[in-house]
């Protein structure tokens, strides 16, 4: 059995376990869907501007790209960092280290789980936005292309950075306490909840050194009217830059994950 086939078998196993864990299903999978519903209802009276035809952009339409971006971050960074740190703490990884399982198969299994569950999450978010809040989904293939490109680069970078971040918590129990504040702060400074360009300039610079800001901007280009591009930092979607930066994060994430991954914490 090759490392690839073994990784796919592990991915199937991981997806099954993910679905059985109430914690991950609520805090990682359902959370962005819940927030989309809350924002759509809470801000239903508020104006978010209008498209070229003069149709008002609803709160649900406005927040949809942000919630997809948040889901990508949660599934990848938060989900994997907590999951792997927990497995390192509870002895799972020590047991696996004693078997002929390649590290690449283990990481592939985790990445596969993230890809499947986050793709399902995007589908649920789109369905809720469309069916519950009447959001008109994009009709042009080019916009769907933007969604797919930003999603794939974003989720890959998130998953790899999650693998790297899993090394930081000193125990499985500390994992949630270490990781969740990081992802919450990132969501606030990356234009997911608050309009990015309203942040102080220095904070925009700081936020730009993390992938979420770019994922959110890329997804806005897929869902919001073209006219909204003028509200972005450079007055345009800057899609080539967004994709290049995300590709850069994939490379950085891969290097960090490769350098930092250890089966066990102390090899003393």
């Amino acid at each position: 059995m090759t490392a690839l086939a073994l990784g796919l078998a592990r991915a199937r196993h991981e997806v099954r376990l993910y679905a059985r864990s109430a914690d991950t299903v609520f805090f990682t999978f359902a959370f962005p869907v819940l927030l989309l519903a809350v924002f759509s209802v809470a801000f239903s009276e508020q104006s978010f501007g209008s498209d070229a035809d003069g149709l008002a952009v609803t709160a649900a339409a406005y927040y949809l790209p942000g919630m997809i971006a948040a889901g990508i971050l949660l599934s990848g960074v938060q989900g994997l960092a907590v999951d792997i740190a927990t497995e390192r703490g509870d002895g799972t990884l020590k047991r696996l280290a004693g078997t002929p399982l390649p590290v690449s198969s283990y990481v592939l299994g985790k990445a596969g789980q993230v890809l499947v569950t986050s793709a399902a999450q995007v589908v649920v978010l789109l369905a809720v936005a469309r069916l519950a809040f009447g959001v008109a989904l994009p009709t042009e293939p080019e916009r769907w292309g933007r969604l797919v490109a930003v999603y794939l680069l974003g989720i890959t970078a998130s998953a790899l950075l999650g693998v790297a971040l899993s090394r930081v918590p000193s125990s499985g129990r500390a994992a949630t306490a270490v990781v969740v504040p990081v992802t919450v702060v990132l969501q606030f400074v990356s234009g997911v909840y608050l309009p990015f360009t309203q942040l102080p300039e220095w904070l925009q610079v700081v936020a730009s050194s993390f992938p979420l800001r770019w994922i959110a901007q890329g997804l806005r280009s897929a869902f919001l009217p073209e006219g909204f591009a003028t509200l972005e930092t450079g007055g345009s979607w800057d899609l080539p830059l967004v994709l290049a930066v995300l590709a850069g994060f994939v490379v950085v994430g891969a290097v960090l994950a490769r350098l930092t991954f250890r089966w066990t914490r102390a090899d003393a």
């Binding site: 059995m1 073994l6 078998a9 592990r10 196993h13 099954r16 376990l17 059985r20 864990s21 927990t86 497995e87 509870d90 002895g91 799972t92 020590k94 047991r95 280290a97 004693g98 078997t99 002929p100 399982l101 390649p102 066990t264 090899d267 003393a268």
Partner: protein, 309 residues
């Protein structure tokens, strides 16, 4: 007879800063042999085993497992080992069959998943999630995961913790069948009866040193098991070690009738073990004759200076 040992350990040392966990431990495990590693908590057993498994680095000495230094063991080397660690706290959302089947895929020539589950006595619980199992059942899953890859060398670290007596007997039968297939086994255990039942040889470790090494028969052999007769009379309590306890008792009876507190005691493995460990750590042994009671025939007592103290 010329087969190289499955495990070779020479002058193995391990220190954590200024504290020394292992003071030069040496032993071999021959191909197909079961070696029992006995010792109290903190004796250094787990340190030895983890170094052999490649989970821990050593400070000095030579170690070979299947001819390979565990520091440099790759996946091909790992595929020839089976490791049952001390119990872990895994979340246990998978079922028994899912967990064993997934583990089996790592090995080139795994055993049949259902046969392994049957061998550890969990056929009835194959579809149950691990977290719903009792501690003993969970431990049997650990054992299943350790043997599914058909290992040449099997490390069992306190494998029967939490087993009921029947499960322990079943497990012994399983270990014997693995041994019959030629598996070399390093068994760490607190249960002396288990060590005596399963091991071809025993290694008693304490304070990071090998105190004694020999077959169970050696350790509990003729000299170590010389019966001890104790009784009381007007002058106090008496203890005599003799190979002819019946003759001694008959003479006592002939001299003064029924003696008070008469006992004839034949030391078992546990007594011998406690005497060894007790003498080495300076704690009072099982009897007044502890210092002189260390086995001296057929046993290589490597910690003699400690025993004598």
């Amino acid at each position: 007879m010329t087969n190289p040992p499955a495990v070779t350990v020479r002058d193995l040392t391990k220190s954590y800063g200024s504290s020394v966990a292992l003071h030069g431990v040496s032993f071999d495990v021959a191909p197909g042999e079961t070696l029992g590693l006995l010792g109290p908590n903190g004796a250094g057993k787990s340190t030895i085993v983890e170094i052999l498994e490649g989970h821990r680095d050593r400070s000095g000495g030579e170690v070979r497992v299947l001819g390979t230094d565990p520091r440099r063991g790759g996946l091909a080397w790992r595929s020839r080992l089976g490791i049952v660690l001390q119990s872990s706290g895994e979340a246990g959302l998978a079922t028994v069959r899912e967990e064993v089947a997934l583990a089996a895929r790592c090995w080139r020539r795994p055993r049949d998943v259902d046969e392994v589950i049957a061998a550890v006595g969990l056929t009835d619980r194959a579809g149950a999630r691990l977290r719903s199992l009792s501690g003993g059942q969970r431990r049997r899953v650990d054992v299943a995961l350790g043997i599914v890859g058909r290992p040449e060398v099997l490390f069992l670290d306190e494998p029967t913790t939490g087993f009921d007596p029947e499960a322990r007997r079943d497990f012994w039968a399983l270990v014997r069948s693995l041994s019959d297939e030629g598996t070399s086994i390093l068994l760490t255990t607190h249960y002396l009866d288990e060590a005596a039942q399963l091991s071809d040889r025993l290694l008693v470790v304490d304070g990071g040193r090998v105190l004694a090494e020999g077959t169970p028969a050696d350790l509990v052999g003729a000299s170590a098991r010389t019966p001890r007769v104790t009784w009381r009379d007007a002058t106090g309590t008496h203890e005599v070690r003799t190979d002819a306890p019946a003759a001694l008792v008959a003479r006592l009876h002939a001299d003064g009738g029924e003696p008070d507190g008469l006992e004839v005691h034949r030391p078992d493995l546990e007594t011998v073990y406690l005497e060894l460990v007790g003498a080495a750590t300076g704690v009072a042994g099982a009897g007044g004759a502890a210092a002189g009671g260390a086995p001296d025939r057929g046993v290589r007592a490597t910690g003699t200076e400690a025993v004598a103290s």
